[in-house]
Symmetry: C2
Subunit: 650 residues, 2 copies
């Protein structure tokens, strides 16, 4: 196994140059790996005709997969889960619609049609569909900048439908074009910070309802809201505030209880509806609506009216609708897909991100035609669904039926529901989204991720929701670019009694080899780091010759194992490094280059400059060869070209 005694020629266990393949072949393979990493068409390969159509239908409508084997046992579980989430969906739906400055009834509409669509197309068994606070807030703040919901409610409503349509179209397009990985760029830390910030902002907005204020700022940042609240101290209504605080206390208490006793998950799930009923009764009996407690008022009876004709595609407003649609769409996707994946992992089944995107997209497009606004799979509701023991997407159907019954018969009951109860429901839901433990964990594990998280949080709280998002995504991308721009180069040493070479600073036992400097590069060599690497390698050589006065440096071994890819700038860099160290009489040796690196070295003819005989399979091979050369004859300083030295080396 490559001992020093075996002589020079045997050292060169050659690193092969991969055979060159036709360009189109490589291109197709790369395209497939980029856009179809999960190979979704695999199942269609050996099928034909009718069977293919059935498979395709099953692919897009997973309900065809599970419905045939559906039975009463499963339905019992789904019924319980469905009723539980309906009792949460009704008050939350109304609350979030108010948050989006939309008519409260839209919250109910949005819990009727979209869940039915998702039940057919979605592949998650645990996701409960509904509106979410963050997207609602975004709609209010982004659309509110262009159109005032108080002065032109009809136009505002139409724009909300249009934005929902665009969001759906965008989501479906991402899925069809296999661009699901764009969502991955919203990292976990971005989402923690962003959600926490959005939750803070949403809670601040609830001060309006809690304090019974009539006028309120349309900005969402902390400073504007605080100014707005404290400039109207004399309009604060204590009745409203007391009522709100009581209900908030009740809701938090049930949440705390359910968290301690997971068996009683239904306590916190039913608490919002209980609060709504209690609050409505209280107002009805005490006529508090005449004493500063605002109520929902009349809700129209009946199912979703069609809204297809309300979509507005005319120039002045299409831009804001498109922008709102894309931003809310991607946020909604990020939440829905993350939730779906987490529960799928708990229950050990598979979720196809791109397919889910098509389901979400279709659901929102259909929703925008039937008076619904943006829906996704909110975490809180899905968690309740999961805890309630749902088995399939049928629980969404049950919820939709419950909401339908409410829409048809029960809407008058919400006439006296106080707005302050809705505020309390929102605040209690939002407090659960501020994940300070998650943030502490980030600080503990990865400081950059913590910066991303705090950047997103502060951006949302002090700037705007979009700003927080932009800050977080920028820091994340900057981190990736910085990793590439400043790759770590480390000196390796031999671990005694092994053939392994490891970082000197990580393994105290590792020993450097006299006369040989082994450097490892742990990133692809690209234009962005080629200049840096050239400088850094020179500095390593300088430092090495300063430190070890005894034996002068003769060989530089570059461990290319971590270099996944190289571009033309990287190739030129290697060429330059070779020239620079050649002049100092040092020989460049490569160890373990990957196939892409070998291919490019060979195509650019740098391979010949370095000499194929100076490229080794392992670091150990390279060191053995260097040692052999060092101890059999002292190599002369190589000054003119390297051809000569290569020739007499082998």
């Amino acid at each position: 196994m490559g001992n020093a005694d075996e002589g020079g020629a045997e050292f060169a266990r050659r690193v092969p140059v991969p055979p060159s393949r036709p360009f189109l072949h490589t291109f197709r393979a790369n395209l497939k790996e980029t856009f179809f990493p999960d190979d979704p068409l695999r199942q269609f390969k050996n099928e034909r005709g009718f069977r293919r159509v059935v498979l395709a239908l099953k692919y897009f409508l997973p309900i065809l997969d599970w419905a045939p084997t559906y039975n009463l046992g499963l339905f019992k579980s789904d019924l319980v889960a469905g009723i539980t989430i309906a009792s949460l969906a009704i008050p939350q739906g109304i609350s979030y619609a108010k948050l989006a400055n939309l008519p409260p009834i839209l919250g109910l509409y949005s819990s009727f049609v979209p869940p039915l669509v998702y039940a057919m197309m979605g592949s998650s068994r645990d996701l409960a569909v509904g509106t979410v606070a963050v997207a609602s807030l975004l709609i209010a703040s982004m659309l509110g900048k262009e159109v005032s919901p108080a002065q032109d409610p009809a136009l505002y409503l139409h724009l909300a439908f249009t934005a929902t349509f665009f969001a759906g179209a965008f989501q479906a397009a991402l899925g069809f074009l296999r661009l699901g990985f764009i969502v991955d760029f919203l990292s976990h830390s971005t989402i923690i910070g962003f959600m926490g910030g959005a939750a803070t902002v949403v809670c601040l907005q609830q001060l309006k309802g809690l304090l019974g204020l009539i006028n309120f700022t349309t900005s969402t940042d902390l400073v504007s809201v605080m100014k707005s609240v404290f400039s109207q101290v004399h309009q604060w209504r204590w009745e409203s505030a007391v009522l709100g605080c009581c209900f908030l206390f009740f809701l938090l208490l049930t949440r705390f209880f359910s968290k301690r006793q997971p068996r009683f998950f239904w306590v916190s799930a039913a608490a919002p509806l209980t609060s709504v009923i209690l609050g409505s009764l209280l107002v009805y009996l005490t006529h508090a609506e005449n004493h500063g407690v605002q109520v929902i008022g009349k809700l129209k009876k009946g199912l979703n009216p069609p809204s297809m004709t309300s979509l507005t595609f005319s120039p002045p407003f299409i831009t804001v609708a498109l922008k709102t649609g894309i931003i809310t769409g991607i946020i909604a996707l990020a939440e829905g897909i993350a939730v779906g994946r987490s529960f799928a992992m708990f229950k050990n089944y598979h979720i196809d991100g791109n397919k889910e995107m098509i389901a979400f997209g279709t659901m929102n497009m259909v929703g925008s035609f039937t008076s619904c606004y943006l829906t996704t799979g909110p975490f809180s509701r899905s968690a309740v669904n999961y805890n309630a023991g749902c088995k399939t997407a049928m629980s969404n159907v049950v919820m939709a039926v419950a909401v339908m019954i409410t829409l048809l018969f029960l809407t008058p009951l919400f006439h006296y529901t106080p707005l302050v109860v809705l505020s309390a429901i929102i605040i209690s839901a939002m407090l659960g989204l501020i994940d300070y433990e998650g943030a502490m964990h980030l600080w503990h594990v990865d400081k950059v991720d913590f910066c991303v998280c705090i950047g997103a949080y502060l951006g949302v709280v002090f700037g705007s929701v979009e700003m927080g998002l932009v800050i977080a995504v920028s820091i994340s991308i900057l981190r990736v670019l910085l990793f590439i721009a400043r790759p770590r180069t480390t000196v390796l040493g031999n671990i005694p009694n092994t053939m392994a070479y490891r970082r000197l600073d990580q393994y105290p036992a590792a020993q450097s080899v006299p006369g040989v400097l082994i450097l490892s590069v742990d990133a692809p060599i690209y234009f962005a780091n080629a200049g840096y690497l050239r400088e850094r390698i020179s500095r390593w050589i300088d430092e090495d010759s300063e430190n070890s006065k005894s034996e002068s440096l003769q060989y530089l071994i570059l461990d290319m194992g971590g270099v996944g890819s190289i571009d033309t700038s990287g190739i030129s860099m290697l060429e330059e490094v070779k020239k620079i160290i050649d002049r100092r009489g040092i020989k460049l040796v490569l160890a373990n280059p990957g196939s892409e690196v070998m291919k490019k070295l060979s195509a650019s003819e740098v391979l010949e400059a370095i000499g194929q005989e100076w490229i080794f399979l392992t670091i150990d091979d390279a060191v053995t060869a260097c040692n052999f050369m060092l101890h059999t004859r002292k190599p002369k300083a190589v000054t003119e070209g390297n051809k000569a030295s290569c020739d007499d080396a082998v």
Copy 2:
């Protein structure tokens, strides 16, 4: 060395968790590595007081380093080189100033003051300072959009000075803030495409001069220029065109000759001045200025007037000046630094990029106070300087003195110089910038780099100069992001008779280990690829179990050698992969994780979940351990947690 016989406990040659260091310490080390990779303060370490001041002065003024040892022998070489580049600088300066729509005399001013500043501050011995065509064109097109040089020449001139000031300030700031690596993001392939495109556009602009047209479009794209030229066919002047073509032919001929016979470099270097003299004589003798051949006209005698008071910092125009300054500044830097580095490499001395930026920045700021516009180190002039045998920056001083003499006494001689000769000079210089061989080399070596290059070229030619730059930088960054988003995972196998494990698809001899799947990841695991890697690893396991029916998969070894860094999303991904494969009865084993990965695994407690005893120094150790387990006892399928299996494994 870890044979299968030595028993379970010995396999675990432990991978140490690096000791946790104080956060500030790590932060400082990272900061230093990012911004001071070349450790410029090293030399100040053991010095004090006066000596430090001297060293600092020498750092910023390299002239103090070489001037004391300067002698007559060096001066002789520099004198020849200086006179040669002056004969090139004078006609080129005038031509490029015309290209920037500035008074021609500015070209001479810009070859007087900036070279003197650079001679003091610059660390390159071969760079010849002067104006460049691309930056001149950019100034014309960017400033021309806001202010017409024909209608308001004074304001246009002031804006050009202001833009130059901003460019200098920006360059110096980049140098002081150690942000030189931003320039690295203009990759070699970007520059080939961009320069080629700019040269094409500059040549197209010369059609105005060649055809003697009075009116011409202000756009630079191919379509607009062609429209403008062919809409005024009847204004074409044949006298001008014939004269231009003759001189162009002469210039190209001398260039061709000098390229074939490098000894006669001075033939092509002197050709522009010869053309100017011949052209002027011809016009003077034939009075061709009355027959459609436009001439330069009166040039003011005297040295640079101060222009400090002309800088315009008032609101409506400051934006365009700032934008122009930053873009031209960065382009000029990219060219100047690349040129400086190339020649430094030929002569084997070192150039500090950040220091050069400070020199360029100061030179341009001083220039903007003394009626100069943007200068840098153009490739063509520096190559002539190098070929003429320059030894130090003194050749720039000689050139400046020659230009000074011209400014003081010889400007009237340029009265009759025909513009068409200047056009011919520009075209002949530009044709050298279209590096189609370089582009072919890119296609040959790296297809993505070729796309970047062509993107930049087409963007410049059919869009605008800025658009080409944006396209090229976007493709380059997208490539980096895509590398991170879609890292390659490859299956490794043992190379017979060695302990090395390499890619099965690269090494045909490599053999996979039955019952064990060895996967290697060759990129950092970040939020952007965590989802993809989870899916891809699952697919590898699926494919493996489909292919090998004989022995079912028991161990998944992840080779972490190529994983340079990991963030919290990556850590969660590992945790999820562990859970997923645990349920399938497969054990997760890590081989050779780096110190950062170990640190984060330990901080996040995933290390305990995997079990430190399942983390090995080398793949071979891991395989040996797996084989030992496989053959001594059949591990049961692990279904509930992994604690139990870990315990009975060790």
